[in-house]
């Protein structure tokens, strides 16, 4: 089938528009379709952009290593995942453009993390210690830990 517009090239796409009084059907080649603004070139998704950017590798990548979790920039580029909360800072100068290209922004303007009392971390640590103290029958220690837990408002211990 030839393109309805240029009548020269073979039609590659068909469009159908149903209107209240009639139905329009068009068979067009790519070129004529984009002339009519019907062919929208698909934008890459964030995941696809990330994959594309991560393929840009350099020999230096093996030498940039996160001091906390030991993830290297090279490994980051292989797996596309950070190893800990320090990786981003370590790699910033190398990946700034990456975030910007993926999201068209590299500036967070949303919610901010509450300073977080970290009470949970402490209560959990105490509970684990209490468990150990009871297991080893160190009841004096257990009583002390229990008092500390009560200060956090935990009653059922």
């Amino acid at each position: 089938m030839l393109c309805d517009d240029c009548k020269k090239k073979p039609a590659s796409i068909s469009f159908k528009e149903v209107l209240p009084d009639k139905t329009i059907e068009l068979n067009l080649c790519d070129e004529c379709a984009s002339k009519r603004g019907l062919l929208v070139t698909r934008k890459l998704s964030p995941v696809e952009i990330l994959q594309k950017l991560l393929r840009q590798r350099s020999e230096q990548d093996e030498k940039v290593i996160c001091p906390r979790c030991y993830l290297s920039l090279a490994e980051f580029k292989r797996i596309g995942r950070f190893g800990c909360s320090d990786c981003l800072t370590t790699f910033t100068s190398h990946i700034q453009h990456l975030i910007k290209q993926i999201h068209q922004s590299d500036r967070h303007i949303g919610r901010k993390a509450a300073p977080g009392t970290k009470q949970g971390l402490e209560v959990y640590r105490l509970r684990e210690e209490l468990k150990k103290a009871l297991e080893s029958e160190s009841y004096e220690d257990a009583a002390k830990i229990r008092d500390q837990l009560r200060e956090y408002g935990i009653k059922d211990v």
Binding site: R42, P46, L50, G80, G110, G116
Partner: protein, 352 residues
């Protein structure tokens, strides 16, 4: 033994205990979903995490939740394959979650609207699901839990980049808002591709039912935000809601066109579909999905009056392969499943 097998999640099926009221436009919008990713700065992220770190995080989160929230806390390693599948069908866990080999858990808050996955790709993945277009209410429900846990732990947060995530595609708000829509009008008038391409142009993603790459069945589509940084959470919710409303308008117009042009054909299709659902003796979940699509359309345009959307939504969830077994409380082979599914649907639609 059978009936007691799945007691810890059976209360989810059917999903009658939902605490969140249904949102707007529920004849076109099947459900709204929100996912928020969070990590702790004190523990290595997923790829560098040891089993001991994973166990520690589960214990910590469980202790925080136990003191404050009612619901079910389930460890992945204790879950039966069917339970995992069922939670997936209810959209309370992700496909990635049930495949994890490190220790992982999920907390399902009472009511079944909000869940928290521990040790998925991120330390914490908060999820919410509600029927209808309901992103704003849903986000309050999700962030209530996110904040409650956040007040007790050290979320990984950077002033420039916001909440830090395993994958750079989720950084910033860590939030993905999605709307799951039924668009038979657009499918029939061949406008679906045009609308979906337009969505991509403005930074929104379009997917099938179970996430990336899955086929589009029963005229069901999901739209969601692609970018997670550079927007406030409420902007992302608004943009997603706005696009959903735009698509709803186009869908409604398409439905008008269909009804003016081909009312008889469509009434026939709708009532035949309903008749099959009411009389089938054996039926697959795929067929149910397609028949329900026609009936949902019938309810939406006022042709079918005696069935509610709530009933339809329930059938949609319960007739999935794992859920139907959970509903009857027994393991069923595919053939038995198809028979039981037909039985359940006849009963739901008031036929014996």
């Amino acid at each position: 033994m059978a009936s007691k097998m799945f007691d810890n999640i059976r209360w989810l099926i059917p999903s009658s205990k939902k605490t969140l009221p249904c949102g707007e436009e529920s004849e076109i919008v099947v459900s709204s979903r929100i996912r928020v990713a969070r990590n702790l700065s004190s523990i290595p992220f997923e790829v560098k995490m040891k089993a001991a770190d994973a166990e520690y995080l589960i214990g910590l989160v469980k202790s925080i939740i136990d003191d404050r929230l009612a619901g079910e806390f389930l460890n992945l390693k204790d879950m039966k394959p069917l339970e995992k599948e069922s939670l997936l069908e209810c959209h309370l866990v992700s496909p990635g979650f049930i495949r994890k080999d490190k220790p992982a858990s999920v907390f399902i808050k009472e009511g079944g609207n909000v869940s928290v996955m521990v040790n998925e790709e991120d330390h914490l993945r908060y999820q919410g699901i509600s029927c209808g277009l309901n992103l704003v209410n849903l986000s309050s429900a999700v962030f209530e839990v996110e904040e409650m846990i956040g007040n007790n732990v050290d979320y990984a947060f950077n002033d420039d980049y916001g909440y830090l995530t395993s994958c750079p595609t989720n950084i910033g708000t860590g939030m993905r808002a999605s709307v799951f829509m039924h668009l038979p009008g657009l499918v029939f008038t061949n406008e679906v591709e045009k609308v979906l391409k337009g969505a991509l142009q403005i930074g929104m993603a379009v997917r099938g039912i179970y996430g990336e790459g899955s086929e589009i069945r029963g005229s069901l589509f999901q739209i969601s935000n692609q970018h997670t940084i550079g927007f406030r959470e409420e902007d992302l919710l608004e943009r997603t809601t706005k696009l959903a409303k735009m698509i709803i308008d186009i869908e409604k117009k398409a439905r008008d066109v269909i009804l003016t042009k081909a009312r008889n054909e469509f009434e026939d299709k709708i009532f035949r579909s309903l008749a099959i659902l009411r009389s089938a003796r054996t039926i697959s979940s795929g067929e149910v999905l397609n028949l329900l699509s026609a009936v949902r359309f019938g309810i939406g345009v006022g042709i079918v009056k005696e069935i509610t959307l709530a009933t339809l939504n329930e059938i949609l969830v319960v007739s999935r392969p794992a859920n139907i077994q959970l509903f009857f409380g027994e393991l069923l082979e595919e053939q038995e499943r198809d028979i039981k599914r037909a039985e359940y649907i006849r009963q739901k639609l008031g036929v014996n």
